[in-house]
Homo-oligomer: 228 residues x 2
Amino acid sequence: MRRMSERRTPRQIAREETLVRIKTIALAQLAAEGAPGLSLRAIARELEVVSSAVYRYFSGRDELLTALIVDAYGDLAARLEAAGSGRGSARARWTATCDGLRAWAVAEPHRFALVYGSAIPGYRAPATTIEPAARVVRAFAAAVPPSARRAANDDHAVSRTLAPQLAGTAEVLDLDLEPPVVLWLVGAFARVLGALTLELNGHLVGGFEPADDLFEALVAAEAAALAW
Amino acid sequence: MRRMSERRTPRQIAREETLVRIKTIALAQLAAEGAPGLSLRAIARELEVVSSAVYRYFSGRDELLTALIVDAYGDLAARLEAAGSGRGSARARWTATCDGLRAWAVAEPHRFALVYGSAIPGYRAPATTIEPAARVVRAFAAAVPPSARRAANDDHAVSRTLAPQLAGTAEVLDLDLEPPVVLWLVGAFARVLGALTLELNGHLVGGFEPADDLFEALVAAEAAALAW
DNA sequence: TCGATTGCAAGAGCGGCGCTCACATTTGTC
DNA sequence: GACAAATGTGAGCGCCGCTCTTGCAATCGA
């Protein structure tokens, strides 16, 4: 047992720098080739190191992907928290949060795909990614005041079996929101993600380009269903 | 110039059968390993043929993927058309269409990911896939009567720049719907896709399992915004 | 019916991949 | 300075997509 972080030895410094360098190169590869094109050998080449050396830093592709996913959630959450922390109305902060997500997704579509795209086959997300993912959702929830109520269809919208699921989710995420509002939140989040999925994967080409106006209208329409 | 399809020679028959066999094996691989795990070599092995032989049937991985995508769109569209062709109310047919999409996606998540998941890096969808994809959207639109109007926020929901995009999309897809309804349609479709993306990629684990009630409530809430 | 054509499969091979392992080298500690 | 841990090397395994040449057999035209 040696003091572990009291004094960082040059080796530790170098190690951390190498970790960052690897992730940086990986992100560049991701942007250029997508997740399947992420190659440890190519990273090693760019690092001017033999391929097996990379395994001293990440035990394999999956571990590297996990690190990138955690980073992506973290960066996104920070960005959303900043976007939604304005002094305007709750509704304005909500809109700003949605716009923040889109701006991030459009700017870094590969990272968006990494966290909200199709599961990478053969890759099983470890529990480490749960908390960072929850932080993103919490950023959205933060813009919705606890006093918000659904404008209509309050009663029959939430079935007896769904209510406890909504309440449980709110508790896990530490949200002070009533079940109907949680339902609205999930729906709104799904809608935003779906719209971005469509946009980023080219399903809107030919009709909505750029999709700014479409996105804005969709967010506005969704927000109209909530009594702020 | 010989008659090409008048009389199928044994050779043509064998070829077509091989094409189907390859696609069948590919689908099995897709289900087992996902898109990146789709390997022409493995297909050749299962086909008990040398790997290069497969290239007689598909010029490469991309061409095979394209065939699978077109098939997937076709199967899905047929299923949705069947689901939405009941004799109930338009709203009931709409719900049935949404449920049909979810049922298909849950039953064949790998095919859902193929068409609505993250774009496969390095793969550029050829124009061949546009029409099949449009057919799916049309299946959804078919459940929305032209008489439908948005219940509220009709005016400010559709901006001046968005309206022509919506009208253009309606025209391309041959939909007899007013811009506000097209906007609703796109939003509803995005919401359903987003919800399925969340569900299939495990973003709902821990809170909504099974997600049947959630999905039902989301569809119902969306439908409430339209005057049927 | 027979020779030429065409379609198909085999097999070898290229470069790339993830990953492992035995070995050498460097670095930090006592 | 000795020793151990951390780091880098290089060879190698089996996989991948894809290409090319070669042999063979079904098919077609005369």
